[in-house]
Symmetry: C2
């Protein structure tokens, strides 16, 4: 398939590796890829500076071959002590975690570690903006859910309460982010509404 | 050696692995270790939330042995596109890079990549606080140097100017951070002075 500019549509090729998606919708991309694209867009337009943190790795053994790059020969994945994304928008510190679920009726709290929730509490306490982005695959919906709405569910779980947040609560207390182009997951538009 | 609480002084043992330092001063610790200790202190006292970003690694090959953790068998170090540290203090986004030098007369600009300087410029443009911490080993001095003072030297270098910042300029335009206990590199005290 050729586009008017004469270039092949490489995008679809790369999406189709993951999932055939003939209707050009977003469903083949992971949430992480969508957020990375969004953050690149924000950065390129000088709208915000938000980056994903690298995956934490415990490096155990490194080889230094002559005349080529150092090679990590043994390493292990470490549990993250913070969220995956943070950055700066309109002078405010923002911090978030992104999660996808295939569940239909609720979002499992097992998606988070204690450390991450503690981290988000600290961010809120120090006047930062903390939130989660939740994608429900079956509905192709992505929600902005403020961390402050997550905390009561987290506490309740520790006290023997339910281990998930109902989909209906996320619909009511979160804000759905429309999937669009060029900014795929325009979470800053929600921050504009809620915090400014 | 035993301390009044009866515990062995493990700290000195671990320092001495790096450098014999009988006078209990700080000189055996790397700047990174000092900053990590400082950030832990800030976090434990609920003063600020600042973390070092993990080292970016391109993971190529992972083994998944039965009944044990995944092992990274091949990986490569990637160049960081941002600075190493960022976080939140008194509602402000802060962002910095820490570097040590053995030079006596100047700090080489080769310590930075173009990406990192561009990143710090964006932070300043979006009302964040960006700075560098520079340690001169031979003088056992650590300076807070605002990123805005770095930019002119960076530009000048691109235009054929000098490739380093003179020690004297860092003394005059930066602020020396006293090494103390328990907060080793109290850079937030400088931020209090300069930005609030």
């Amino acid at each position: 398939m050729n586009y008017p500019n004469g270039k092949k549509n490489n995008k679809i090729t790369s999406i189709s590796k993951r999932k055939k998606d003939p209707d050009f919708s977003n469903r083949g991309m992971t949430l992480e890829e969508d957020i990375n694209d969004t953050n690149k867009y924000y950065l390129s337009r000088d709208i915000a500076v938000v980056h994903k943190k690298p995956t934490p790795v415990q490096i155990v053994k490194v080889d230094y071959p002559k005349r080529s790059a150092a090679v990590i020969k043994e390493g292990y994945f470490k549990q993250a002590s913070t969220t995956d994304y943070n950055g700066l928008y309109r002078g405010k510190y923002i911090d978030f975690e992104a999660k996808e679920t295939k569940n239909k009726t609720s979002f499992p709290l097992s998606n988070f570690h204690e450390h991450q929730v503690e981290h988000m509490k600290s961010i809120v306490a120090h006047s930062g903006i903390a939130f989660i982005l939740i994608r429900f695959h079956c509905y192709d919906q992505t929600f902005f859910f403020p961390a402050t709405k997550l905390f009561p569910y987290w506490e309740s779980q520790s006290n023997g309460g339910r281990k998930s947040i109902p989909y209906q609560v996320i619909q009511e207390q979160g804000l759905e982010i429309p999937i669009q182009y060029p900014v795929k997951i325009d979470y800053l538009s929600i921050i504009d509404q809620l915090y400014f």
